[in-house]
């Protein structure tokens, strides 16, 4: 920690320092020209670190995706992204993310609605929010294990359904290691994330709005269609967009659940790093670039929608 973190009272704000007579001491050890250094020294380590371990590594991938094996400029890697196999992977990743964002968004919204406007006791809400905090962090390998133990081929529910009701899930087309199985598993962290981000928006729904629309004759579904949903729409959309990004970048859960059987883009990149397939690092960089572009668009969309949403939450 640099020495200058101290003199918070001076610099640009020196004029407002409440005890000007104490300032002499500070002025003495501040050599000429140190003003600029001091102003910035606290944030410089962060920027350097972020540059070294986040921005530049990402930038090397960007550069690499425009190079061939000998370092010459090429657009071939980007063109290869349109190969059927790779395009299919992107589509699959988008599908998983979209399905889990929409379903997670819908059911997360319903749960959040139940504990905010649904007239449930306050304790239920506290528990749901706490549990959602845990569940949204419970992901990756252990989550995959939990679903294998529950709905895998010898999972408890699978076996129970078969022995008690004679229903064989796997004979009826269910498969945990498939698109829908993976999506069902992702929902375990998507749904609680939705609860956490949409609850504040529902808290912002003023009782007066409902009362006013009821007085004007708009009840039940009409109130929801014409008043509540338009107000909530930006929040809902931005949450769904965030959920989309949340699923899009997920690697560990898919890896542990399917062992790379489902060809999501993160799985493809992982295989590329390990040198399992393709064996064309530059194509791998292009894969990563495509992913970052999609994620960036996602986050920008989220931010734009959030700005719209905050219109109603301001007092």
């Amino acid at each position: 920690m640099p020495v200058s973190s101290v003199r918070v009272g001076e610099g640009a704000r020196g004029a407002r320092f409440p005890f000007p007579f104490l300032k002499g001491k500070n002025a003495a050890d501040a050599g000429p020209g140190s003003g600029l250094v001091r102003r910035w020294i606290g944030v410089v380590p962060f920027f350097l670190f972020a540059l070294a371990f986040m921005v530049l590594p990402a930038a090397t991938l960007l550069v690499g995706s425009f190079q061939d094996g000998h370092g010459h400029f090429t657009l071939v890697n980007l063109a290869h992204l349109a190969r059927p196999g790779i395009l299919r992977s992107y589509l699959l990743t988008v599908e998983v993310s979209l399905v889990t964002a929409l379903l997670g968004g819908l059911f997360g919204f319903l749960l959040a609605w139940a504990v905010t406007l649904g007239g449930m006791p306050r304790g239920v809400r506290g528990f749901l929010v706490t549990f959602s905090g845990v569940a949204s962090n419970f992901a990756g390998v252990p989550l995959a294990f939990a679903f294998i133990a529950t709905l895998g081929r010898v999972g408890l529910i699978t076996v129970l359904l078969k022995s008690i009701f004679g229903i064989s899930l796997y004979d009826h087309g269910f498969n945990l290691y498939s698109f829908w199985g993976l999506s069902f598993t992702y929902l375990y962290f998507q749904l609680p994330l939705m609860v956490l981000i949409i609850t504040p928006a529902l808290d912002g729904m003023k009782r007066e709005w409902r009362e006013a629309s009821e007085n004007l004759g708009a009840r039940g579904t009409r109130y929801w269609r014409e008043v509540a949903l338009p107000i909530l729409l930006p929040s809902l959309l931005s949450s769904v967009v965030l959920l989309f990004g949340n699923a899009f970048g997920a690697y560990a859960t898919a890896y542990a659940l399917t062992g790379g059987f489902i060809n999501l883009i993160p799985i493809q990149i992982g295989a590329q790093i390990r040198g399992d397939v393709l064996h064309d690092p530059n194509l791998g960089y292009a894969l990563a670039l495509g992913m970052v572009i999609i994620m960036t668009l996602t986050i920008l969309g989220y931010a734009a929608l959030q700005r719209r949403a905050s219109r109603f939450t301001k007092p």
């Binding site: 101290v6 944030v43 990402a58 749960l111 649904g118 992901a139 989550l143 133990a149 962290f189």
Partner: protein, 274 residues
């Protein structure tokens, strides 16, 4: 609003609303608790015919368990220390001296959401595998990656903590009483945001301890890759590991909840690294 109208519009919908709420909550409850229950029961079936904690005994007796868990614990502590050492000055500066750069810092702190772990580790490997920066075999690179992953959570927690106190008055009061910068920082500012610091620490802990992507790609014997390996070879032990992980996550989030009681910030606990 007349009394008659109020009764007609309010009462029936309230009971119907409660019924719907109860329905959605029960469905949600089933979805969330059945897997936990099933995993727990599954983990007890290590011995044929009886319920037992044999799978847990196997896990705890496996020297690899202790070794990998300790390794991940060390990485978590290093990440927390490095992350806080980077983020506390940054957040202080943003709140006291350079409010102008806040948007830039926020963009940087949120960038890990745009760069998924698998892409981040790819970039780290490409950049640091040849001289002059051959860091790929050093744990420094792993910790650096983890610090990047925890940027958003640490920054938000520390920043929210600093915003919740009257930082300017506190620091100026401390200095006008003659405290040096170290005293001001360690005895005035940090104690006042200890709930936020604890949140940041435990959130980082819960992200790092079971993390798979970075650890497996940089080839470290961490807890995440160990779990994945057990999952490939055994049946009941993975379920036991899932239960242990869930309890760990629950435990660290519980600490955050307790620490931040009365500290009105729900944000930092949302989401993790999947």
């Amino acid at each position: 609003m007349t009394a008659g109208l109020a009764v007609r519009t309010a009462e029936r919908p309230v009971s119907r609303r409660k019924a719907w709420s109860a329905l959605w909550l029960s469905l949600g409850g089933l979805y969330f608790f059945l897997p936990l229950l099933a995993t727990f029961l599954f983990s007890l079936r290590g011995k044929k015919g009886v319920l037992s904690f044999v799978a847990y005994a196997h896990v705890f007796r496996d020297p690899q368990f202790l070794k990998t868990f300790t390794f991940s614990l060390e990485m978590a502590v290093a990440t927390i220390v490095a992350g806080l050492a980077l983020m506390i000055p940054t957040a202080l500066w943003v709140n006291l001296r350079l409010p102008r750069v806040r948007p830039v810092i926020e963009v940087f702190a949120l960038m890990p959401f745009v760069i998924p772990p698998i892409v981040l580790v790819f970039g780290l490997i490409r950049m640091y595998s040849q001289p002059p920066f051959a860091l790929v075999t050093s744990p420094v690179l792993l910790v650096a990656g983890y610090v990047v992953l925890s940027f958003p959570y640490i920054f938000r927690a520390v920043d929210a903590g600093l915003r919740a106190i009257d930082l300017k008055v506190l620091t100026e009061a401390s200095q006008s009483l003659g405290a040096r910068w170290g005293t001001t920082l360690f005895r005035v500012v940090l104690p006042n945001i200890r709930a936020a610091l604890l949140s940041a620490a435990f959130l980082t802990f819960s992200i790092v301890v079971g993390e798979l992507t970075l650890a497996v790609m940089l080839a470290w014997p961490a807890f995440g890759p160990y779990m994945a390996l057990v999952g490939r070879d055994l049946a009941y032990e993975p379920a036991a590991l899932a239960v242990i992980s869930f309890l760990l996550t629950w435990g660290s989030l519980l600490v955050i909840q307790l620490a931040s009681r009365g500290f009105r910030e729900q944000g930092p606990t949302a989401g993790g690294v999947h």
